[in-house]
């Protein structure tokens, strides 16, 4: 995402500003994640992706009212799915760090460590698959940028999203803990 201190043009409306800036921000996000994922086995890379995903999601949410609700919400759901996988990886890593402080060495501790390591690895793999097969599948970046730039041909930009996201949600529902999404 841009680090410009004054990205918004004061003389233009929020809608005009959003259509001008957000497509570039989104493309920056795609580029950042692709670059991070090129470093295939790095937990630090996944952490960077997680932070970048949060940043873009919360920035986009600020402009929800500037877009058609269905198209916007379909895209935000796609982003939330990315965040959920990454959040699951982080939860397992954070939990292990915490347990390492409070549990004495024991077979039980080793078993928990293995469980959490496997969980983190599984979720990381799931995220990578989701990213390459769905979120960053051919045409998806354009699906985002054309919508955010107001160049989407459909009525509200929702086209092409439902099937993908239903499949993702189904998989998530089978696998994730009960805590809320959206952090």
């Amino acid at each position: 995402m841009s680090r410009s201190r004054t990205p918004w043009n004061q003389r233009e409306s929020a809608e005009v500003n959003a259509r001008r800036r957000l497509p570039r921000m989104m493309s920056g996000y795609f580029a950042e994640v692709r670059e991070a994922l090129a470093d295939k086995h790095s937990p630090a890379a996944l952490h960077r992706v997680r932070l970048a995903s949060k940043k873009i999601r919360y920035t986009l949410e600020l402009f929800r009212q500037c877009y058609g609700a269905a198209g916007f919400d379909a895209r935000l759901k796609a982003l939330k799915d990315v965040q959920t996988s990454l959040g699951d990886v982080n939860d397992a890593v954070t939990t292990w760090r915490l347990l390492a402080k409070v549990m004495p060495h024991s077979p039980r501790r080793r078993a928990l460590r293995e469980y959490l390591k496997k969980r983190a690895a599984d979720r990381a793999e799931e995220f990578r698959a989701h990213w390459s097969e769905r979120f960053d599948a051919p045409g998806r970046e354009r699906w985002w940028t054309e919508f955010l730039g107001g160049r989407d041909g459909t009525k509200d930009g929702a086209q092409g999203s439902a099937g993908d996201e239903t499949a993702v949600r189904g998989r998530r529902a089978r696998q994730r803990p009960s805590r809320k999404t959206g952090a």
Binding site: W8, K54, D91, T94, T95, L98, L99, V102, R179
Partner: protein, 133 residues
């Protein structure tokens, strides 16, 4: 654009104030989660629309939000750990679960005290003035 930015921040500040009140009363896992989301949303709005606010003020407020986020994270980390430990097959009465519950209780007490301090000093009104909303 400035009006839009101010309106967004004003709305998010109002939501944060409501959530601070709620979590000060009931700091269960969902409430702490919602508090963290409210903090993140306001913090991101301040950063995104920084050009429309006095620099010293938005930076100071983000720092305060970051501190509160840390207090909330201490509670949330224990909630997540308890859930995962249970998923891994540890009984609720297992020593590790009891340890996590005790730590969670301490973190919750600290968070709620901090939230009451925020309420006591009228942070929302103070920030509205500082941000010239």
């Amino acid at each position: 654009m400035k009006e839009f930015a101010h309106s967004q921040v004003s709305t998010l500040l109002r939501r944060l104030a409501a959530q601070v009140k709620r979590t000060a009363e009931v700091a269960d896992a969902d409430s702490v989660h919602d508090l963290r989301v409210a903090i993140r949303r306001l913090s991101r709005a301040l950063r995104s629309f920084a050009q429309f606010f006095p620099a010293k003020q938005w930076k100071r407020i983000r720092k305060e939000l970051s501190n509160l986020m840390e207090a909330a994270a201490a509670v949330r980390d224990n909630d997540v750990a308890l859930e995962l430990v249970e998923k891994a097959g540890a009984a609720e009465r297992a020593r590790v679960a009891l340890t996590l519950q005790a730590r969670r209780g301490e973190a919750e007490a600290e968070l709620r005290e901090e939230l009451r301090n925020w309420q006591g000093r009228g942070f929302a009104r103070e920030w509205r003035e500082a941000l010239e909303l």
